[in-house]
């Protein structure tokens, strides 16, 4: 692991991968990629590849976790051992446990769980390759998988991580920018209703920088949100027109 900090903003003001500060990486989205799950989605933010699957609403087991007036949401964020540069042990780390919670709470804000008392809606997110922004790509994939599964929700949610590298606020950070930057702020945004469902900060920002970061994040999330809607629309357009 290289210890010296690389230069993250080049002479020409572009980032290590040639992007402008407000550019997203190339994003790929596909739904219905798994046969068994009720809903599923594959999302790629540049080199970050995640797959999400939704099972439910289904019986909540063990009975002890059931809630009398709504469905429980169970979310598992997990990284494959081959997803990172160094081999990762398959056992859940504290980070995976925290991210599972943060993503679940983001989805709690939009899923209409009161429609299915005593049942469970299970969301499984697997990171196949990690290159920065895995929890935000995971949130986007989870939202698409929930839509694919026909789970009723207020809105779709799009995730994107904003960072500060070499003093510049940038959108959709990759692994290098995450590791060596000054701040990493994952954001989850329900762009239709205009509400923030996920927000964390790891690093240091002044209040002005923070405001700028949130604004940049929201605009980035809006673009991702539009692509999500397009992906869903295109999926069935072919069938309707046949």
């Amino acid at each position: 692991m290289s210890e010296s900090k690389p230069r993250l903003i080049r002479e020409d003001g572009l980032r290590v991968d040639g992007r402008k500060p407000e550019d997203l990486r190339p994003i790929r989205m596909e739904i219905e990629v798994l046969k068994n799950a009720n809903g599923s989605a594959l999302v790629e933010y540049g080199g970050t590849k995640v797959i999400a699957a939704v099972y439910g609403p289904r019986e909540a087991t063990p009975k002890a976790v059931q809630l009398p007036d709504r469905a429980v949401l169970r979310v598992r964020y997990h990284m494959a051992p081959f997803s990172t540069s160094e081999h990762k042990s398959p056992a859940p780390t504290r980070r995976e446990i925290e991210l599972s919670k943060v993503i679940r709470e983001a989805l709690e804000a939009v899923v209409f769980t009161d429609q299915f008392p005593r049942a469970s809606i299970d969301v499984f997110i697997e990171v196949l390759q990690a290159d920065g922004g895995t929890r935000t790509a995971g949130l986007t994939a989870a939202s698409l998988a929930l839509a694919d599964a026909g789970i009723p929700m207020r809105d779709l949610v799009a995730g994107v991580a904003v960072g500060k590298v070499d003093g510049v606020i940038v959108l959709d950070i990759n692994e290098l920018e995450d590791e060596f930057g000054e701040a990493d702020m994952p954001l989850g945004y329900a762009a239709g209703v205009g509400e923030i469902v996920l927000l964390q900060l790891n690093g240091v920002l002044t209040p002005e920088e923070f405001k700028k970061a949130v604004e940049l994040g929201r605009r980035g999330a809006e673009r991702i949100y539009a692509q999500m809607k397009e992906t869903l629309h295109k999926k069935y357009l072919a069938i309707l027109e046949s």
Partner: protein, 238 residues
């Protein structure tokens, strides 16, 4: 109620899409109408699922592309026995809730000392049943007392998405009649996504299965009834 429509009938919609705006004074606040898959917020009518809008003179709703079966009282369902208790069977009706069938419902003068539940209905066997009770606090209760209800001992079972059932029945039963008249199969459609058919021969059973799978895949296509009619005629002759 005066509505300004933002979508057309059969348009693809997604969670959060605005379907219409209520042009009236007064704020409606927040309200949900789960059966129609819509919710209201500040005079906007929005979709809560990924599906197809159904817009008519005085009604808006959304038909989801995908959904799990949600039990309703009076629904006719097909269930698979998955557990045997002392006085009841556990029945899988492919819903988030396990259903139950009381022994006393299936066996006259039921007495646990004399009657062995397993010999009446064993694990893996299927029943055509009706939901007699279901609410938010308890699991669905079934009955097999009633015309046509009971253990399924022969025929073929075809599984489809529950949201396709209305399409398999069709407007005023048009699709149902088309399928049964062309194949000469006897068909029973269960609300939880099962079709039970008794066909005069194996070939007709296969053709019926294929036709139903076609409907399962593209329920919202225009002219589907005509397409199925042509398919059946091709396979079975006019």
């Amino acid at each position: 109620m005066k509505l300004k429509l933002y979508v057309a009938d059969r348009q693809i919609v997604r969670p959060g899409d605005t379907l219409a705006v209520i042009e009236e004074d007064g704020n409606q606040g927040f309200k949900r109408i789960p059966e129609k898959h819509i919710y209201l917020v500040d005079n906007n009518i929005c979709s809560d699922v990924f599906g197809v809008a159904s817009v008519s003179e005085n009604d808006i709703s959304v038909i989801p592309f995908n959904s799990v079966y949600y039990p309703r009282k009076e629904d006719v369902v097909i269930g698979i026995i998955e557990g045997i208790g002392v006085t009841s069977w556990e029945v899988d009706i492919r819903s988030p809730y396990k259903a139950y069938l009381n022994a006393s419902d299936a066996i006259e003068n039921f007495n646990p000392l004399y009657h062995d539940l397993k010999s009446y209905l064993d694990i893996g066997e299927m029943v055509l049943a009706k939901i007699v009770a279901f609410d938010r606090t308890r699991d669905p209760l079934l009955t097999i007392k009633g015309k046509g209800l009971g253990k399924i001992i022969e025929g073929i079972i075809i599984e489809v998405k529950p949201s396709r059932i209305p399409r398999i029945i069709g407007k005023k039963g048009s699709m149902f009649n088309l399928l049964t008249s062309k194949t000469n199969c006897e068909m029973t459609v269960a609300q939880n996504g099962f079709v039970w058919a008794k066909c005069p021969d194996e070939y007709r059973g296969e053709v019926l299965t294929q036709a139903i799978k076609l409907i399962d895949e593209k329920p919202h296509v225009r002219g589907l009834t005509e397409e199925i009619k042509q398919f059946l005629e091709k396979k079975l002759g006019g």
